[in-house]
Subunit: 150 residues, 2 copies
DNA sequence: ATAGTTTCAGATAAAAAGGTCTTAATATCT
DNA sequence: AGATATTAAGACCTTTTTATCTGAAACTAT
């Protein structure tokens, strides 16, 4: 199955959204996140190690330890998250690698392809982790502002 | 790097477009296709074996042998090609696998996500191999009708 | 201090994707 | 018939991705 990003990217988005929905005062155990997001725990640990290096979270060992967001989720763009794990895509490249297309002339689909790529890019570039949380928060009877994170 | 399909799918689209642009009277050597499309020859052979089973091409061994389209490229949808190699995607699933979303309530992005997925789906479902050939053909001073394929 | 808890770090393993090679079969040409 | 050309088939290899395991380090509470 192929979508726009790797499994690691999907997982980390899911995990970060979970964190963004919680009160950011306490550290949250990887185990808890793993259970709620259905991400294999050892794999999630590894992913958190990675983004800990990127300073998106802070972690604490030992009792009452866990992980906690270190950045404002409203500033964490999907594009950044995905690029961090999968590398930056070349959105100017023809989706099917026809290299003749666009050089001296264009295929009939060139503009249609570009439009689609642009929409994908814009979505990933304009969407943040925080964007996913809004309605869910309401359901949980907690609003973003009530949480006063950052 | 992650796009919407596997390398095999990308390759086969490129190869099929190349075939669709040629006079369909003769068999064309895999080697020639490999060189023009910059697909590793042994890998391309393998792919052709696959789509030969699917009856999209016919092949002939021995001198003057090669491969040739067996179906009208205007009937070969990208979605079919990609599904054949990568399996059918679940376009209803949340892109990030948040399973709570959409059940009792939706996240703020639900509609935006759905729109994007739909556009991807529509593009793949409405585009055929033949759609890529039009302008290139003109460059090569050969029109689709002149070729009289099918 | 000590015991218990939890992440850190790195090694390792399993699975999937991408790519190559070799031999056999088949067709054509002379 | 024999030589040559070309795909078929499948085994094999490599790399990347996904996932797991283990021991050490760090923190807390008692
Ligand atoms: S062939 Fe890809 S955009 Fe024209
Ligand atoms: S969380 Fe994916 S569409 Fe709402």
């Amino acid at each position: 199955m192929y979508m726009l990003y790797s499994k690691s990217s999907e997982y980390v988005v899911r995990a970060l959204v979970y964190l963004a929905m919680k009160d950011n005062a306490d550290f949250i155990m990887v185990k808890e996140i793993s259970e709620h997001t259905e991400i294999p725990q050892p794999f999630l640990s590894k992913i958190f190690q990675d983004i800990s290096r990127a300073k998106w979270i802070t972690s604490k060992k030992g009792k009452n330890g866990g992980v906690k967001l270190a950045v404002n989720p409203a500033k964490l763009k999907l594009l950044d998250v995905i690029s961090y794990f999968d590398g930056m895509q070349d959105y100017s490249r023809c989706m099917f690698g026809h290299k003749e297309c666009g050089v001296s002339s264009k295929c009939a689909l060139h503009n249609k392809c570009s439009d689609l790529k642009n929409e994908i890019y814009d979505f990933l570039n304009s969407t943040t982790i925080a964007d996913f949380t809004s309605i869910w928060k309401k359901e949980n009877k907690v609003s973003l502002k009530e949480l006063k994170i950052f």
